[in-house]
């Protein structure tokens, strides 16, 4: 063996079968298990689907701008509103919130990663493939056309003969798996991996809200999983679950869907509540008013949210007792929601307000969400709801809640956390334009829908007719046109945000270490954070730990700065841990996630393909199980034992 050097070294012979430990270029992203990279990928994916869903919405509004619209035909219109809702709910708001949670939960609780990093990576890829899978249906005979609620029996093989609903049901199943794994992962992370001293009641409010959301997800997703299985078995394997001729009860689907669907509403909104509960105190220079009340009201919303699902079914003939009970429970959930609004307002009260773009979005949320919440109260009154449900009034209501609430909250989060994630400041001036275009656009679009609904225009109509439009101030023609114009203003607003990202990426201002005077742990590290987040895990003594390391009360009871952010960071770095153990990247998450859409495609078109997909998943699962979480030395090139420990680099 004289010339052994000429032969393949072990590592190169392993080729693809080596752990992807040395990550460069695209591999750095595709095989990563780093929660921060995954968070960014979640957000990019969500942003992509936001644009897709937004374009669908614009087409819908253009179709309805004038009577007897001809831009879309009935079939395409039905697909459009189905996919608009599906995309926005499952592929934009949920993944965007998941992205924020992924990125910031470990940072906020002082952890170096999530509890199960590979499952985290798997969750992201499953979501991405699920989303693409659903949208694949556009090219394979038409998308789902039954509405995002997909009521049986209209979703059955007779009434929706294209494969759209199959793609929808299976794609959501994949996305559901992603949500479920993500939920378990984040719950374990939050409960188990907090920094020393961080008691539950010292956790940042965003972490709290995400915890509530993940519990909601963990228990809501299995219910929709059952519903989707029933639907898929009926459509693909001839089961009879929603076949009325066989004696089926169509309300079964509605109950299953809404037992999931109502908690889902809180799943969408609570992350944004968490975000603005971080933003408002920072820019008011005082702690969140009534922190325990906000925490408990969030938890209360989580609990009561399980007992209100039938308010989506007031018109379905449930019987007076159920209707009355669900009506009352729905009113009850308005109380904890109101508590939050009160607390936010009182957080502003007596503060020292700094109107950054993030703050503007947060204040916008308070006002617009309140409108949505109050219109919600009007249809918690069941008899009143029978006049309003399935009209544009409801469309107005939930867009005020979801756009005015969830989306504005997410945008607030973008502006607030952008310097943390990318080390550069988003342009504040453009941000202000962005804010006003979005707020005005959203009020122009969804405000008139209150009128349209109360004037009796039902939802999901591909055309409206002048015969039923009326005259006078409240005529449908005028307000439909205004709503359509408003949607274009909204498009400009979102476009400005994309421009802002672009400009910032090209030539943005480098962010200072602590641009906002922030209060929580995620700011106690560099911008962007190092791969291992913290050089040494801080010990937590307060809610708003970072603030209390920077400020203290002097003898007169005045808050005085005692340390700069740089000094706080320096202190952590000086005590850096010598060896930090980080998990290695892995191929298996993406392999398993890839097996899911292959299996689902097989379920629709040919069973052998499904078996093939199943084998990919099985192989991936075992490959995963046999793989240690940290790569052995032989996986390194050259083989080495020092790679798993990071050298701690001092910054600042």
């Amino acid at each position: 063996m004289a010339n052994i050097e000429n032969f393949a070294t072990p590592s190169s012979a392993m080729g693809a079968l080596k752990r992807p430990v040395v990550t460069k270029g695209w591999r750095e992203w595709v095989f990563t298990v780093d929660h921060k990279k995954l968070g960014i990928m979640y957000m990019a994916t969500a942003m992509f689907f936001f644009v897709v869903g937004g374009l669908e919405a614009v087409l819908i509004r253009l179709q309805l701008a004038l009577p007897n619209g001809k831009i879309l035909n009935a079939d395409l219109y039905n697909q459009m509103f189905t996919m608009h809702a599906t995309t926005m709910v499952f592929l934009f708001v949920m993944p965007m919130a998941a992205g924020f949670a992924n990125y910031f939960i470990p940072l906020q609780i002082g952890a170096r990663d999530v509890a199960f990093p590979r499952i985290n990576a798997f969750g992201f890829w499953a979501l991405l493939f699920g989303g693409l899978f659903i949208n694949l249906s556009w090219f394979l005979g038409g998308a789902a056309d039954g509405g995002w609620f997909m009521y049986a029996p209209n979703s059955g093989p007779i009434f929706s003969p294209s494969h759209g609903v199959d793609f929808w049901a299976l794609g959501l199943q994949i996305a559901g798996i992603a949500s479920l794994t993500g939920a378990i992962n984040l719950i374990v992370t939050i409960l188990n991996m907090r920094a020393p001293g961080m008691k539950l009641m010292r956790m940042p409010i965003f972490t709290w809200m995400i915890l509530v959301v993940q519990f909601l997800l963990a228990f809501a997703v299995p219910v929709i999983t059952v519903a989707l299985f029933l639907l898929s078995f009926q459509r693909n394997f001839g089961a009879t679950f929603f076949d009325v001729a066989a004696g089926a009860d169509p309300l079964l689907w509605q109950h299953l869907f809404w037992i999931f669907g109502h908690p889902e509403v809180y799943i969408l909104i609570l992350p944004s509540f968490g975000i603005i509960s971080e933003v408002l105190p920072v820019f008011s220079r005082k702690p969140l008013f009534g922190y325990p009340f906000v925490v408990f009201s969030g938890a209360a919303i989580g609990f009561v949210g399980w007992g209100v699902w039938a308010h989506h079914m007031f018109a379905s003939g449930l019987g007076p007792v159920s209707v009355a009970v669900f009506s009352i429970s729905t009113m009850a959930i308005a109380v904890p929601t109101g508590v939050k609004i009160v607390n936010w307002t009182l957080t502003l009260w007596g503060g020292k307000l700094w109107f950054t773009t993030a703050m503007k979005f947060a204040i916008g949320l308070i006002v617009l969400f309140t409108i949505g919440g109050l219109s919600g109260v009007t249809h918690s009154v069941a008899p009143s709801d029978t006049q309003q449900t399935d009209t544009y009034y409801i469309v107005a209501h939930f867009h005020y809640v979801l756009f005015g609430g969830a989306v504005l909250g997410l945008f607030s989060g973008f502006y607030y956390w952008w310097p943390k994630m990318f080390g550069k400041m988003l342009n504040e001036k453009l941000g202000t334009w962005n804010f006003w275009f979005m707020v005005i656009g959203m009020n122009l679009t969804f405000g008139p829908m209150h009128i349209l609904g109360l004037q009796g225009q039902p939802r999901r109509m591909y055309q409206w007719t002048e015969n039923r439009a009326g005259e006078g101030f409240f005529n449908l023609a005028f307000w439909n046109l205004i709503a359509s114009i408003g949607s274009l203003v909204l498009v400009v607003g979102v476009f400005l945000f994309l421009v802002n990202i672009f400009i910032t990426a090209r030539s943005g201002k480098v962010a200072p270490l602590d641009p906002w005077g922030a209060r929580s742990l995620e700011w106690m590290t560099s911008n962007p954070p190092k791969e291992h987040n913290f050089d040494s895990i801080p010990t937590v003594h307060h809610l708003d730990e970072f603030f209390h390391r920077k400020y203290a009360e002097d003898a007169n009871g005045q808050m005085q700065q005692i340390a700069t952010a740089e000094e706080v960071l320096k202190q952590l770095e000086d005590n850096a841990d010598a060896h930090i153990h980080m998990p290695s990247p892995s191929y298996w998450p993406i392999v398993i996630a890839f097996g899911l859409p292959v299996t689902c495609l097989g379920v629709i078109y040919s069973i052998p393909l499904a078996i093939f997909g199943g084998l990919i998943i099985l192989m991936g699962a075992f490959g995963w199980a046999l793989e240690p979480s940290t790569a052995p030395d032989t996986d390194f090139d050259p083989p080495s034992s020092s790679n798993t420990s990071k050298d701690v680099v001092h910054v600042g």
Partner: protein, 371 residues
Amino acid sequence: MFTPGSKYLIAITGLSAVSFALYMLLVHPSAIGAVALIGLLAATSLLTGITLFTRDGHASEGQTSAAALDTPTPSMWPLVGAAGFALLLVGTITTPIVFIFGIVAMLAALVEWTVQAWSERSSADVAYNAQIRQRILNPIEYPILAAVGIAVIIFSFSRVMLAINKDAGAIIFIAAAAAISLVGVLISVRPQLKKSIVGTIAVVAALGLVGAGIAGMGVGMREELVVAAQEDHYAHKECGAEKSEHFDKGVSETISATSGADATIELIDGKLTAHAQGIEGLQDSITVRRSNPINIIFRNKDAGEFRLSAYLGKTKVADGVSEDLITCTQLLPQGAEQWLTFTIAKPSVSGEPYTLSIPGLAGQSVEVVVP
């Protein structure tokens, strides 16, 4: 860095991507075609990826591998491959199952052989080569071996159960489970037991099970199941006044969720009454919708067993010959209730009304009006 092999695969991947795009855009796409092309695309890109990653023999280009100079380790895969080929040939002239087994065996041999050969060439270190082999193949071997093992047990076992008598089945079942447990206890309390003995027990048990399974397959299903499959006797409604052997077996007496009922029909003191949902009082006729499944609840409040029978007009069985269309509930004891669902496609015509009645109880009927 690109070897001829990877170039070839890159080209074929590109080609399949282009053909997929063209197919989707230009040709009116059929679903199967799209899946086929996507499948091609996925397969070729996977292969391309693997070749690029493994650098496709790049390492040994122009060189002889050190390991190749050593004698290769003994391998059973050529034998398995040959056996698979033999099975394949036998299968072509006998049954397709054997043919499929042959293909599976050949495929398995091919994969194992290839990986083994490749791993043995990767370095001079035999232990390291084995590790490579394991890393590639263990994720496949473990689940597949486990799945095959389970499938053999389940299949053989269920064939035996299907072949033998119902009561004997339960006894055999518990006996088998007891045997498994006992063997477990035996082995666990006798740690000095030789491995070869344990292995022999396992092999004998497995062979016995497979043999019994094949025997069970040969015997076929037990008599009553064969008869049941031929006659479909639970679905065959016998609507007379007297008890039917199969249809009236296992009467179900309670119902859940009554909200779908058009009407409730009750038999009280020999009188048949109707109560349509939402309408106050009792009626002697009910109006139902055309071509809509009608759900009726029948409740027997009379002493004795009765069934409700619905006369739904006539159906033509051949030219000039027609037959009464009748459906009915089971014979219900006092206090029991049951659903009756039917659909009437044609409106009522005078002279031959649709009716609900009790077989064996003359003079009591409820008219069903279809406007």
